[in-house]
Amino acid sequence: MTEPVLRLEGLRKNFGGLVVTDDVSLDIKPGELHAIIGPNGAGKTTLINQISGLLDPTAGRIFLNGADVTALPANKRAELGLARSFQITSVLPRFSALENVALAVQARAGSSYRFIGRADGEAALNADAMAALKEVSLADRADVMAAHLSHGEKRALELAIALAMQPKLLLLDEPMAGTGHEEGERLVGVLQRLKGRFAMLLVEHDMNAVFALADRISVLTYGRILASGPPAEVRADPKVVTAYLGEELE
């Protein structure tokens, strides 16, 4: 039996009296793509923020590759192989696309406490960054300042940053949000290609994308996991159909 890449045990988060994550337990196996769906306000982003270390859970524990990371800050979790994208595009606007990615490469390529020598002249960093940009078909925009990229290109850049970290687990918070149909298709294609290389936790509203990509799906409502299983099983679950999927899948 292989160890899960990510394990959540009884995760719980309260904001004041409001329970936004309610006893969530979850395992993600290596190479698996696990999708989380649920209506707005179900607590999906809050869950991702807890896994990536930006929010402290009120109770429960988080394991990465068997190690308890519940108390670790975000940067330590990233060092352990956790990468994430943000729902609201979160790139460095005044860095070029290449430098955005090179910064992620740099984090895994030796010490960054180097004070002398131009970082943007380091061929090895740039080559790896370029490779990641190629994977998301953004290589020809490498020198463009991130602020000047289109929305879809920024989404792709987010993905390239995450790829450059060579993650063991990638958290994707609505990667398709706000993209047009064509750009969405392209991103699905990219994710399809990446599948199997590392485990992924995908939060997404686009049901077509979710059912095309996911190995397993968990349905989150009011911070609680309503159902969890292979796509076909979840699709057929009467609880899910009444609570959430009904109107969208007809």
Partner: protein, 333 residues
Amino acid sequence: MTTLVHTPARTGLSAIRVEAVPVLIFLVLALVPIAAAFGPETYWLGLFTRVMVFAIAALALDFICGYGGLVSFGHAAFVGIGAYAVGILGAHGVTDLLISLPVALGVSALFAFLTGTVCLRTKSVYFIMITLAFGQMIYFVAGSLAPYGGDDGLTVRARSTLLGLPLFANDRVFYYIVLGSLLGSYMLCRAFVVSRFGRVFRGARENATRIATIGYDVFRYQRIAYVIAGAIGGLSGFLLANATEFVSPAYMSWQRSGELIIMVLFGGIGTLHGAIVGAAAYLLLEDTLAGVTEHWKLIFGPMLVLIVLFARGGLLGLGESLRRKLFPGRSDP
């Protein structure tokens, strides 16, 4: 935006123009003593020595503020600590710079480390207020040092020496030593900004959360930068005490910290060499206005307001927008 980074793919002309400004600045500074020989020499030498001393401190402030987004309102504290190191050691008969310089740099770096540990846990306006408060703390502490002059300050009996050699005694030699220190600080900050470390530091200003989720401990990078800026501020203070042969709590008053910010803003924030231009502009303006009326702050205060409201990007920014108006075809993308 005139910055020496983010211009990887730019070619030829504009790249050269960006480099030409700092070269020109240092050339002019190197020639000042020669020009001064034809006028009231001590006056000009003294004024430009002051300009360069403050430029060193402003440079360090621009490093953390312009590239890291850390608006420190207590930067004069480091200048004051550097100056007091010279003053207090001098009062005990220690004038050798092999002792006083490391002490000046070390104590200001230590102060930066300790206060940075607290300040850098907070953000934006908290950071401004807390650095201001710590600056005020050291100001009051200096004022309460009765054995070292208290509020009145104390006279530095002799400029620093090197192994007994009165290296700083000649004003002209001292001028070039200050120029060398400025050039050194400038080159150092420049190197830091474009280095691996600098890239993380700059990134944290753009989006600290992103930098953390990539795997960097933002706090540590910012604290290192803060300590570097503090030490360079200490260097400025070390030179200031030697230039004025006097130290006083006024060196670290909050108005001084404000003036340093103004210098950075005057020259155009986030350019490094802009801080030098800003320091020169501020001190020359102060000198000129003060020559016109003792109430020069009545003119200078509203001027600051107008600059903020109408001239964003400082003097160099003003030059840049002028250039764009004159040569619209060559403007940056």
